[in-house]
């Protein structure tokens, strides 16, 4: 399924882990200012596919990615494409909050520092400030910026990780089950946040919660055993899925 002027355009993407064919011939687009949800039974390759988009699979020795993935018309596997810059443009939030063993301030300042985004301390303060605000964490941490990031609660840590990601001002944010370690209230906050962030960033989110996919996403993709079964408007996928497999999954008959 194609989108007009997509951020990401993926064609015939395959991933092998050694002999295992984990992603099979996937064609998918990610539009601007949209939240794309990826759902599917465990082990179907959602994380694997997500990790293709910022080339995190490079860090896995056995992984081999083929096919074309265009970010704004540029192949991310191109020789000219620097993976450092790619990851600055495509941020990622993980399933388990993973703040660095640094202060809250330094956690957020880390990305801007390594990419040289701030000319002086004042600018850096500004970036940290706005990132924490946008992640909805500012009010809770403004008096304790020098405390370690690990001293926050799980939900706060996850928002800190989101703040850390948006501090480098990416175009796309990838989220791999960002709420699966959180309680319902922290989850609701993150979902609200995703909704706000959508205005400025394209977001791909992997989730096991159908309700969450329905709440936050505009489009939903259903994966099954490495195949992309169908992708379309979230409303349509949940009310009127085209494929039998999708229907079975969302009605809870499978997975």
């Amino acid at each position: 399924m194609t989108t007009e002027n997509p951020v990401f355009a993926c064609r015939d993407v395959n991933v092998h882990y050694g002999d295992k064919h984990a992603i099979k011939h996937v064609d998918i687009d990610v539009g601007r200012s949209e939240v794309l949800a990826m759902i599917g039974p465990s082990g179907c390759g959602k994380s694997t596919f997500l990790r293709c988009l910022n080339r995190m699979n490079d860090t896995i020795e056995s992984a081999r990615v083929t096919g074309s993935i265009m970010l704004d018309g540029q192949d991310i596997h191109d020789r000219k494409q620097d993976v450092v810059q790619l990851r600055a443009r495509v941020g990622m939030v993980f399933q388990k909050p993973n703040p660095f063993p640094k202060s809250i301030y330094e956690n957020v300042a880390y990305g801007p520092r390594i990419h040289g985004l701030a000319a002086d301390r004042g600018e850096l303060d500004e970036i940290v400030n706005t990132s924490l605000r946008r992640a909805g964490l500012w009010e809770e941490v403004k008096d304790r910026l020098n405390q370690p990031g690990t001293s926050l609660s799980g939900g706060q840590q996850q928002r800190l990780c989101i703040a850390r990601t948006i501090a480098v001002n990416p175009d796309v944010i990838l989220m791999d089950e960002p709420c699966s370690a959180l309680d319902p209230i922290a989850t609701a906050r993150i979902e609200d946040l995703i909704d706000e962030l959508r205005e400025s960033y394209a977001i791909c989110i992997v989730t096991h919660s159908m309700q969450q996919a329905a709440r936050v996403s505009q489009r939903t993709a259903y994966f099954h055993l490495g195949d992309l079964i169908e992708v379309g408007e979230t409303k349509k996928i949940f009310t009127n899925p085209q494929a039998k497999l999708t229907e079975d999954y969302i009605t809870g008959r499978f997975g």
């Binding site: 995190m56 450092v84 660095f100 063993p101 390594i114 990419h115 990780c161 480098v168």
Partner: protein, 462 residues
């Protein structure tokens, strides 16, 4: 019948007891097909019986062997002529020494005085009797205990639970032995050091800068009265440890980083054990290497540079000690680095950090407490290391910070103070205990801090 044969017999009795207990339990159950009516397996009854049988026998054996010699000596002594019994304490000690030597066969009986020879043959005769009665008493008690334990066997006897409790007690006893022995050693060091500080003021020892422990052996001898200022030794020890750490920390840490973060898994599988093998090289071999290779080499290099390097220098000893410690540092640091969760690395990579940025700013940062702990452990190794410094650092108690000169360390001085014939209560000998106490306190402190830091760090990622 010698005590070791008695011991063998006790073991044999235990095997017998096991069989008897097992058979008895099967019998009370009503035959091998009915053992399910027993609370525990027949083997448990056997083990329990063996335990109960051996325990009292062994206790008797231990007490008997422990006290036999002193009791016999006293008996023999009381049979000696009054002339010998009324000897002053030190001469009596000599006499007893002779007696023991004759009994042990170290000295032929023809070389000692008549009363001693007589006493020795008395002693041997009594010893023979004592051994026979030991065999009788120990085995007799064992058999009585065996019969008692056998009578206890009923189907509802909880042999398994009792046996478990006995295992627990046996293990406890073993660890108690280890702990008590250590405690005993520490106490004796403290006690002897206390005696030393009775003759040499502790402030002289801790702050004095002159170390020359030669004291007059005889009262009428002219010569030095001995100076026990340990500062030169402390400084020497620190200097050598410092050189060692300057070598070991960067090399060990960087090789750990390479192995943990950069090396291909196959390479890592080969290199890591190799590096750990280095830790198994006996230190005397390193010392050898320091004396024959590193020392002369430094000398040549020094001459070329117009520096005077002593034949035995702190630098040579420190360099080699540093090499010895590398595997220690690297293996601990490697453990700490691999314990950093992958998710932290992923987080940094996902922000666009390069590998070295990730390692430097995230991984090392996270592993730092553990690495520091490892380094502290290595320092305490360096401070306590003896062989290399004995061979390569020299004996001169120079108070200097120049690593090109010969210095001496606490461990070296302990060795030299105690080597050769010594009077055991001269300040010179006792000084070794004071030094040992210092060494013990410092390394203990370092280890406690290091273990605390490492444990705290481990908890963080569990």
């Amino acid at each position: 019948m010698s005590p070791s044969i008695v011991l063998v017999l006790i073991v044999a009795l235990a095997v017998l007891a096991f069989q008897i207990g097992k058979a008895r339990s099967i019998a009370v159950a009503g035959g091998p097909r009915h053992t399910r009516s027993l609370h525990s397996l027949p083997g448990h009854y056997g083990l329990l019986t063996a335990f109960w049988c051996v325990l009292p026998a062994l206790a008797v054996f231990g007490v008997w062997v422990g006290f036999q010699d002193s009791v016999l000596t006293r008996l023999v002594l009381s049979n000696m002529p009054a002339e010998q019994q009324s000897l002053p304490a030190d001469q009596l000690g000599l006499l007893l020494n002779d007696l023991r030597n004759v009994v042990a066969g170290n000295v032929p009986a023809s070389m000692v005085s008549d009363p001693v020879r007589q006493a020795a043959s008395d002693f041997l005769r009594l010893q023979h009797v004592a051994h026979l009665s030991l065999a009788g008493v120990a085995l007799g008690i064992g058999v009585v205990a065996l019969l008692w334990a056998r009578r206890r066997i009923r189907p509802e006897l909880r042999a398994r639970n009792e046996y478990e409790r006995m295992i627990e007690w046996a293990l406890f006893a073993c660890s108690a032995v280890a702990v008590l022995t250590t405690l005993g050693i520490v106490l004796s060091i403290v006690f002897e050091a206390g005696r030393f500080f009775g003759t040499v003021p502790i402030t002289d020892f801790l702050f004095g800068t002159n170390w020359s422990p030669q004291t007059a052996i005889r009262a009428d001898q002219v010569g030095s009265s001995g100076a026990f200022g340990a500062v030169p030794l402390f400084v020497g020890t620190l200097l050598i440890s410092l050189v060692a750490m300057v070598v070991a920390v960067p090399l060990g840490l960087f090789s750990a980083i390479y192995l943990a973060e950069y090396a291909a898994p196959r390479l890592r599988r080969v290199v890591k054990p190799l590096l750990e093998v280095l830790a198994g090289v006996p230190t005397v071999v390193y010392g050898f290497f320091a004396v024959t290779t590193v020392g002369p080499m430094l000398r040549t290099v020094g001459e070329a540079l117009g520096l005077s390097v002593a034949g035995e220098s702190a630098l040579a000893a420190g360099l080699v000690m540093g090499i010895m410690i590398i595997p220690f540092v690297s293996s601990l640091a490697d453990d700490m680095i691999t314990a950093v969760p992958q998710s932290l690395r992923d987080g940094a990579y996902a922000l666009g950090a390069t590998r070295s940025e990730t390692v430097r700013q995230v991984v090392l940062r996270a592993a730092l407490p553990g690495i520091v702990g490892g380094i502290l452990l290595a320092v305490s190794r360096a401070i306590g290391e003896t062989m290399i410094v004995v061979m390569a650092a020299g004996l001169a108690a120079n108070l200097t910070l120049n690593p090109l000169e010969a210095v001496t360390t606490v461990t070296v001085q302990i060795v030299t103070l105690l080597v050769g014939d010594q009077e055991f209560d001269s300040p010179k000998t006792l000084a070794a205990f004071a030094l040992g106490l210092m060494l013990f306190l410092v390394t203990l402190l370092l280890n406690v801090i290091a273990l605390y830091v490492v444990r705290k760090y481990r908890e963080q990622y569990e």
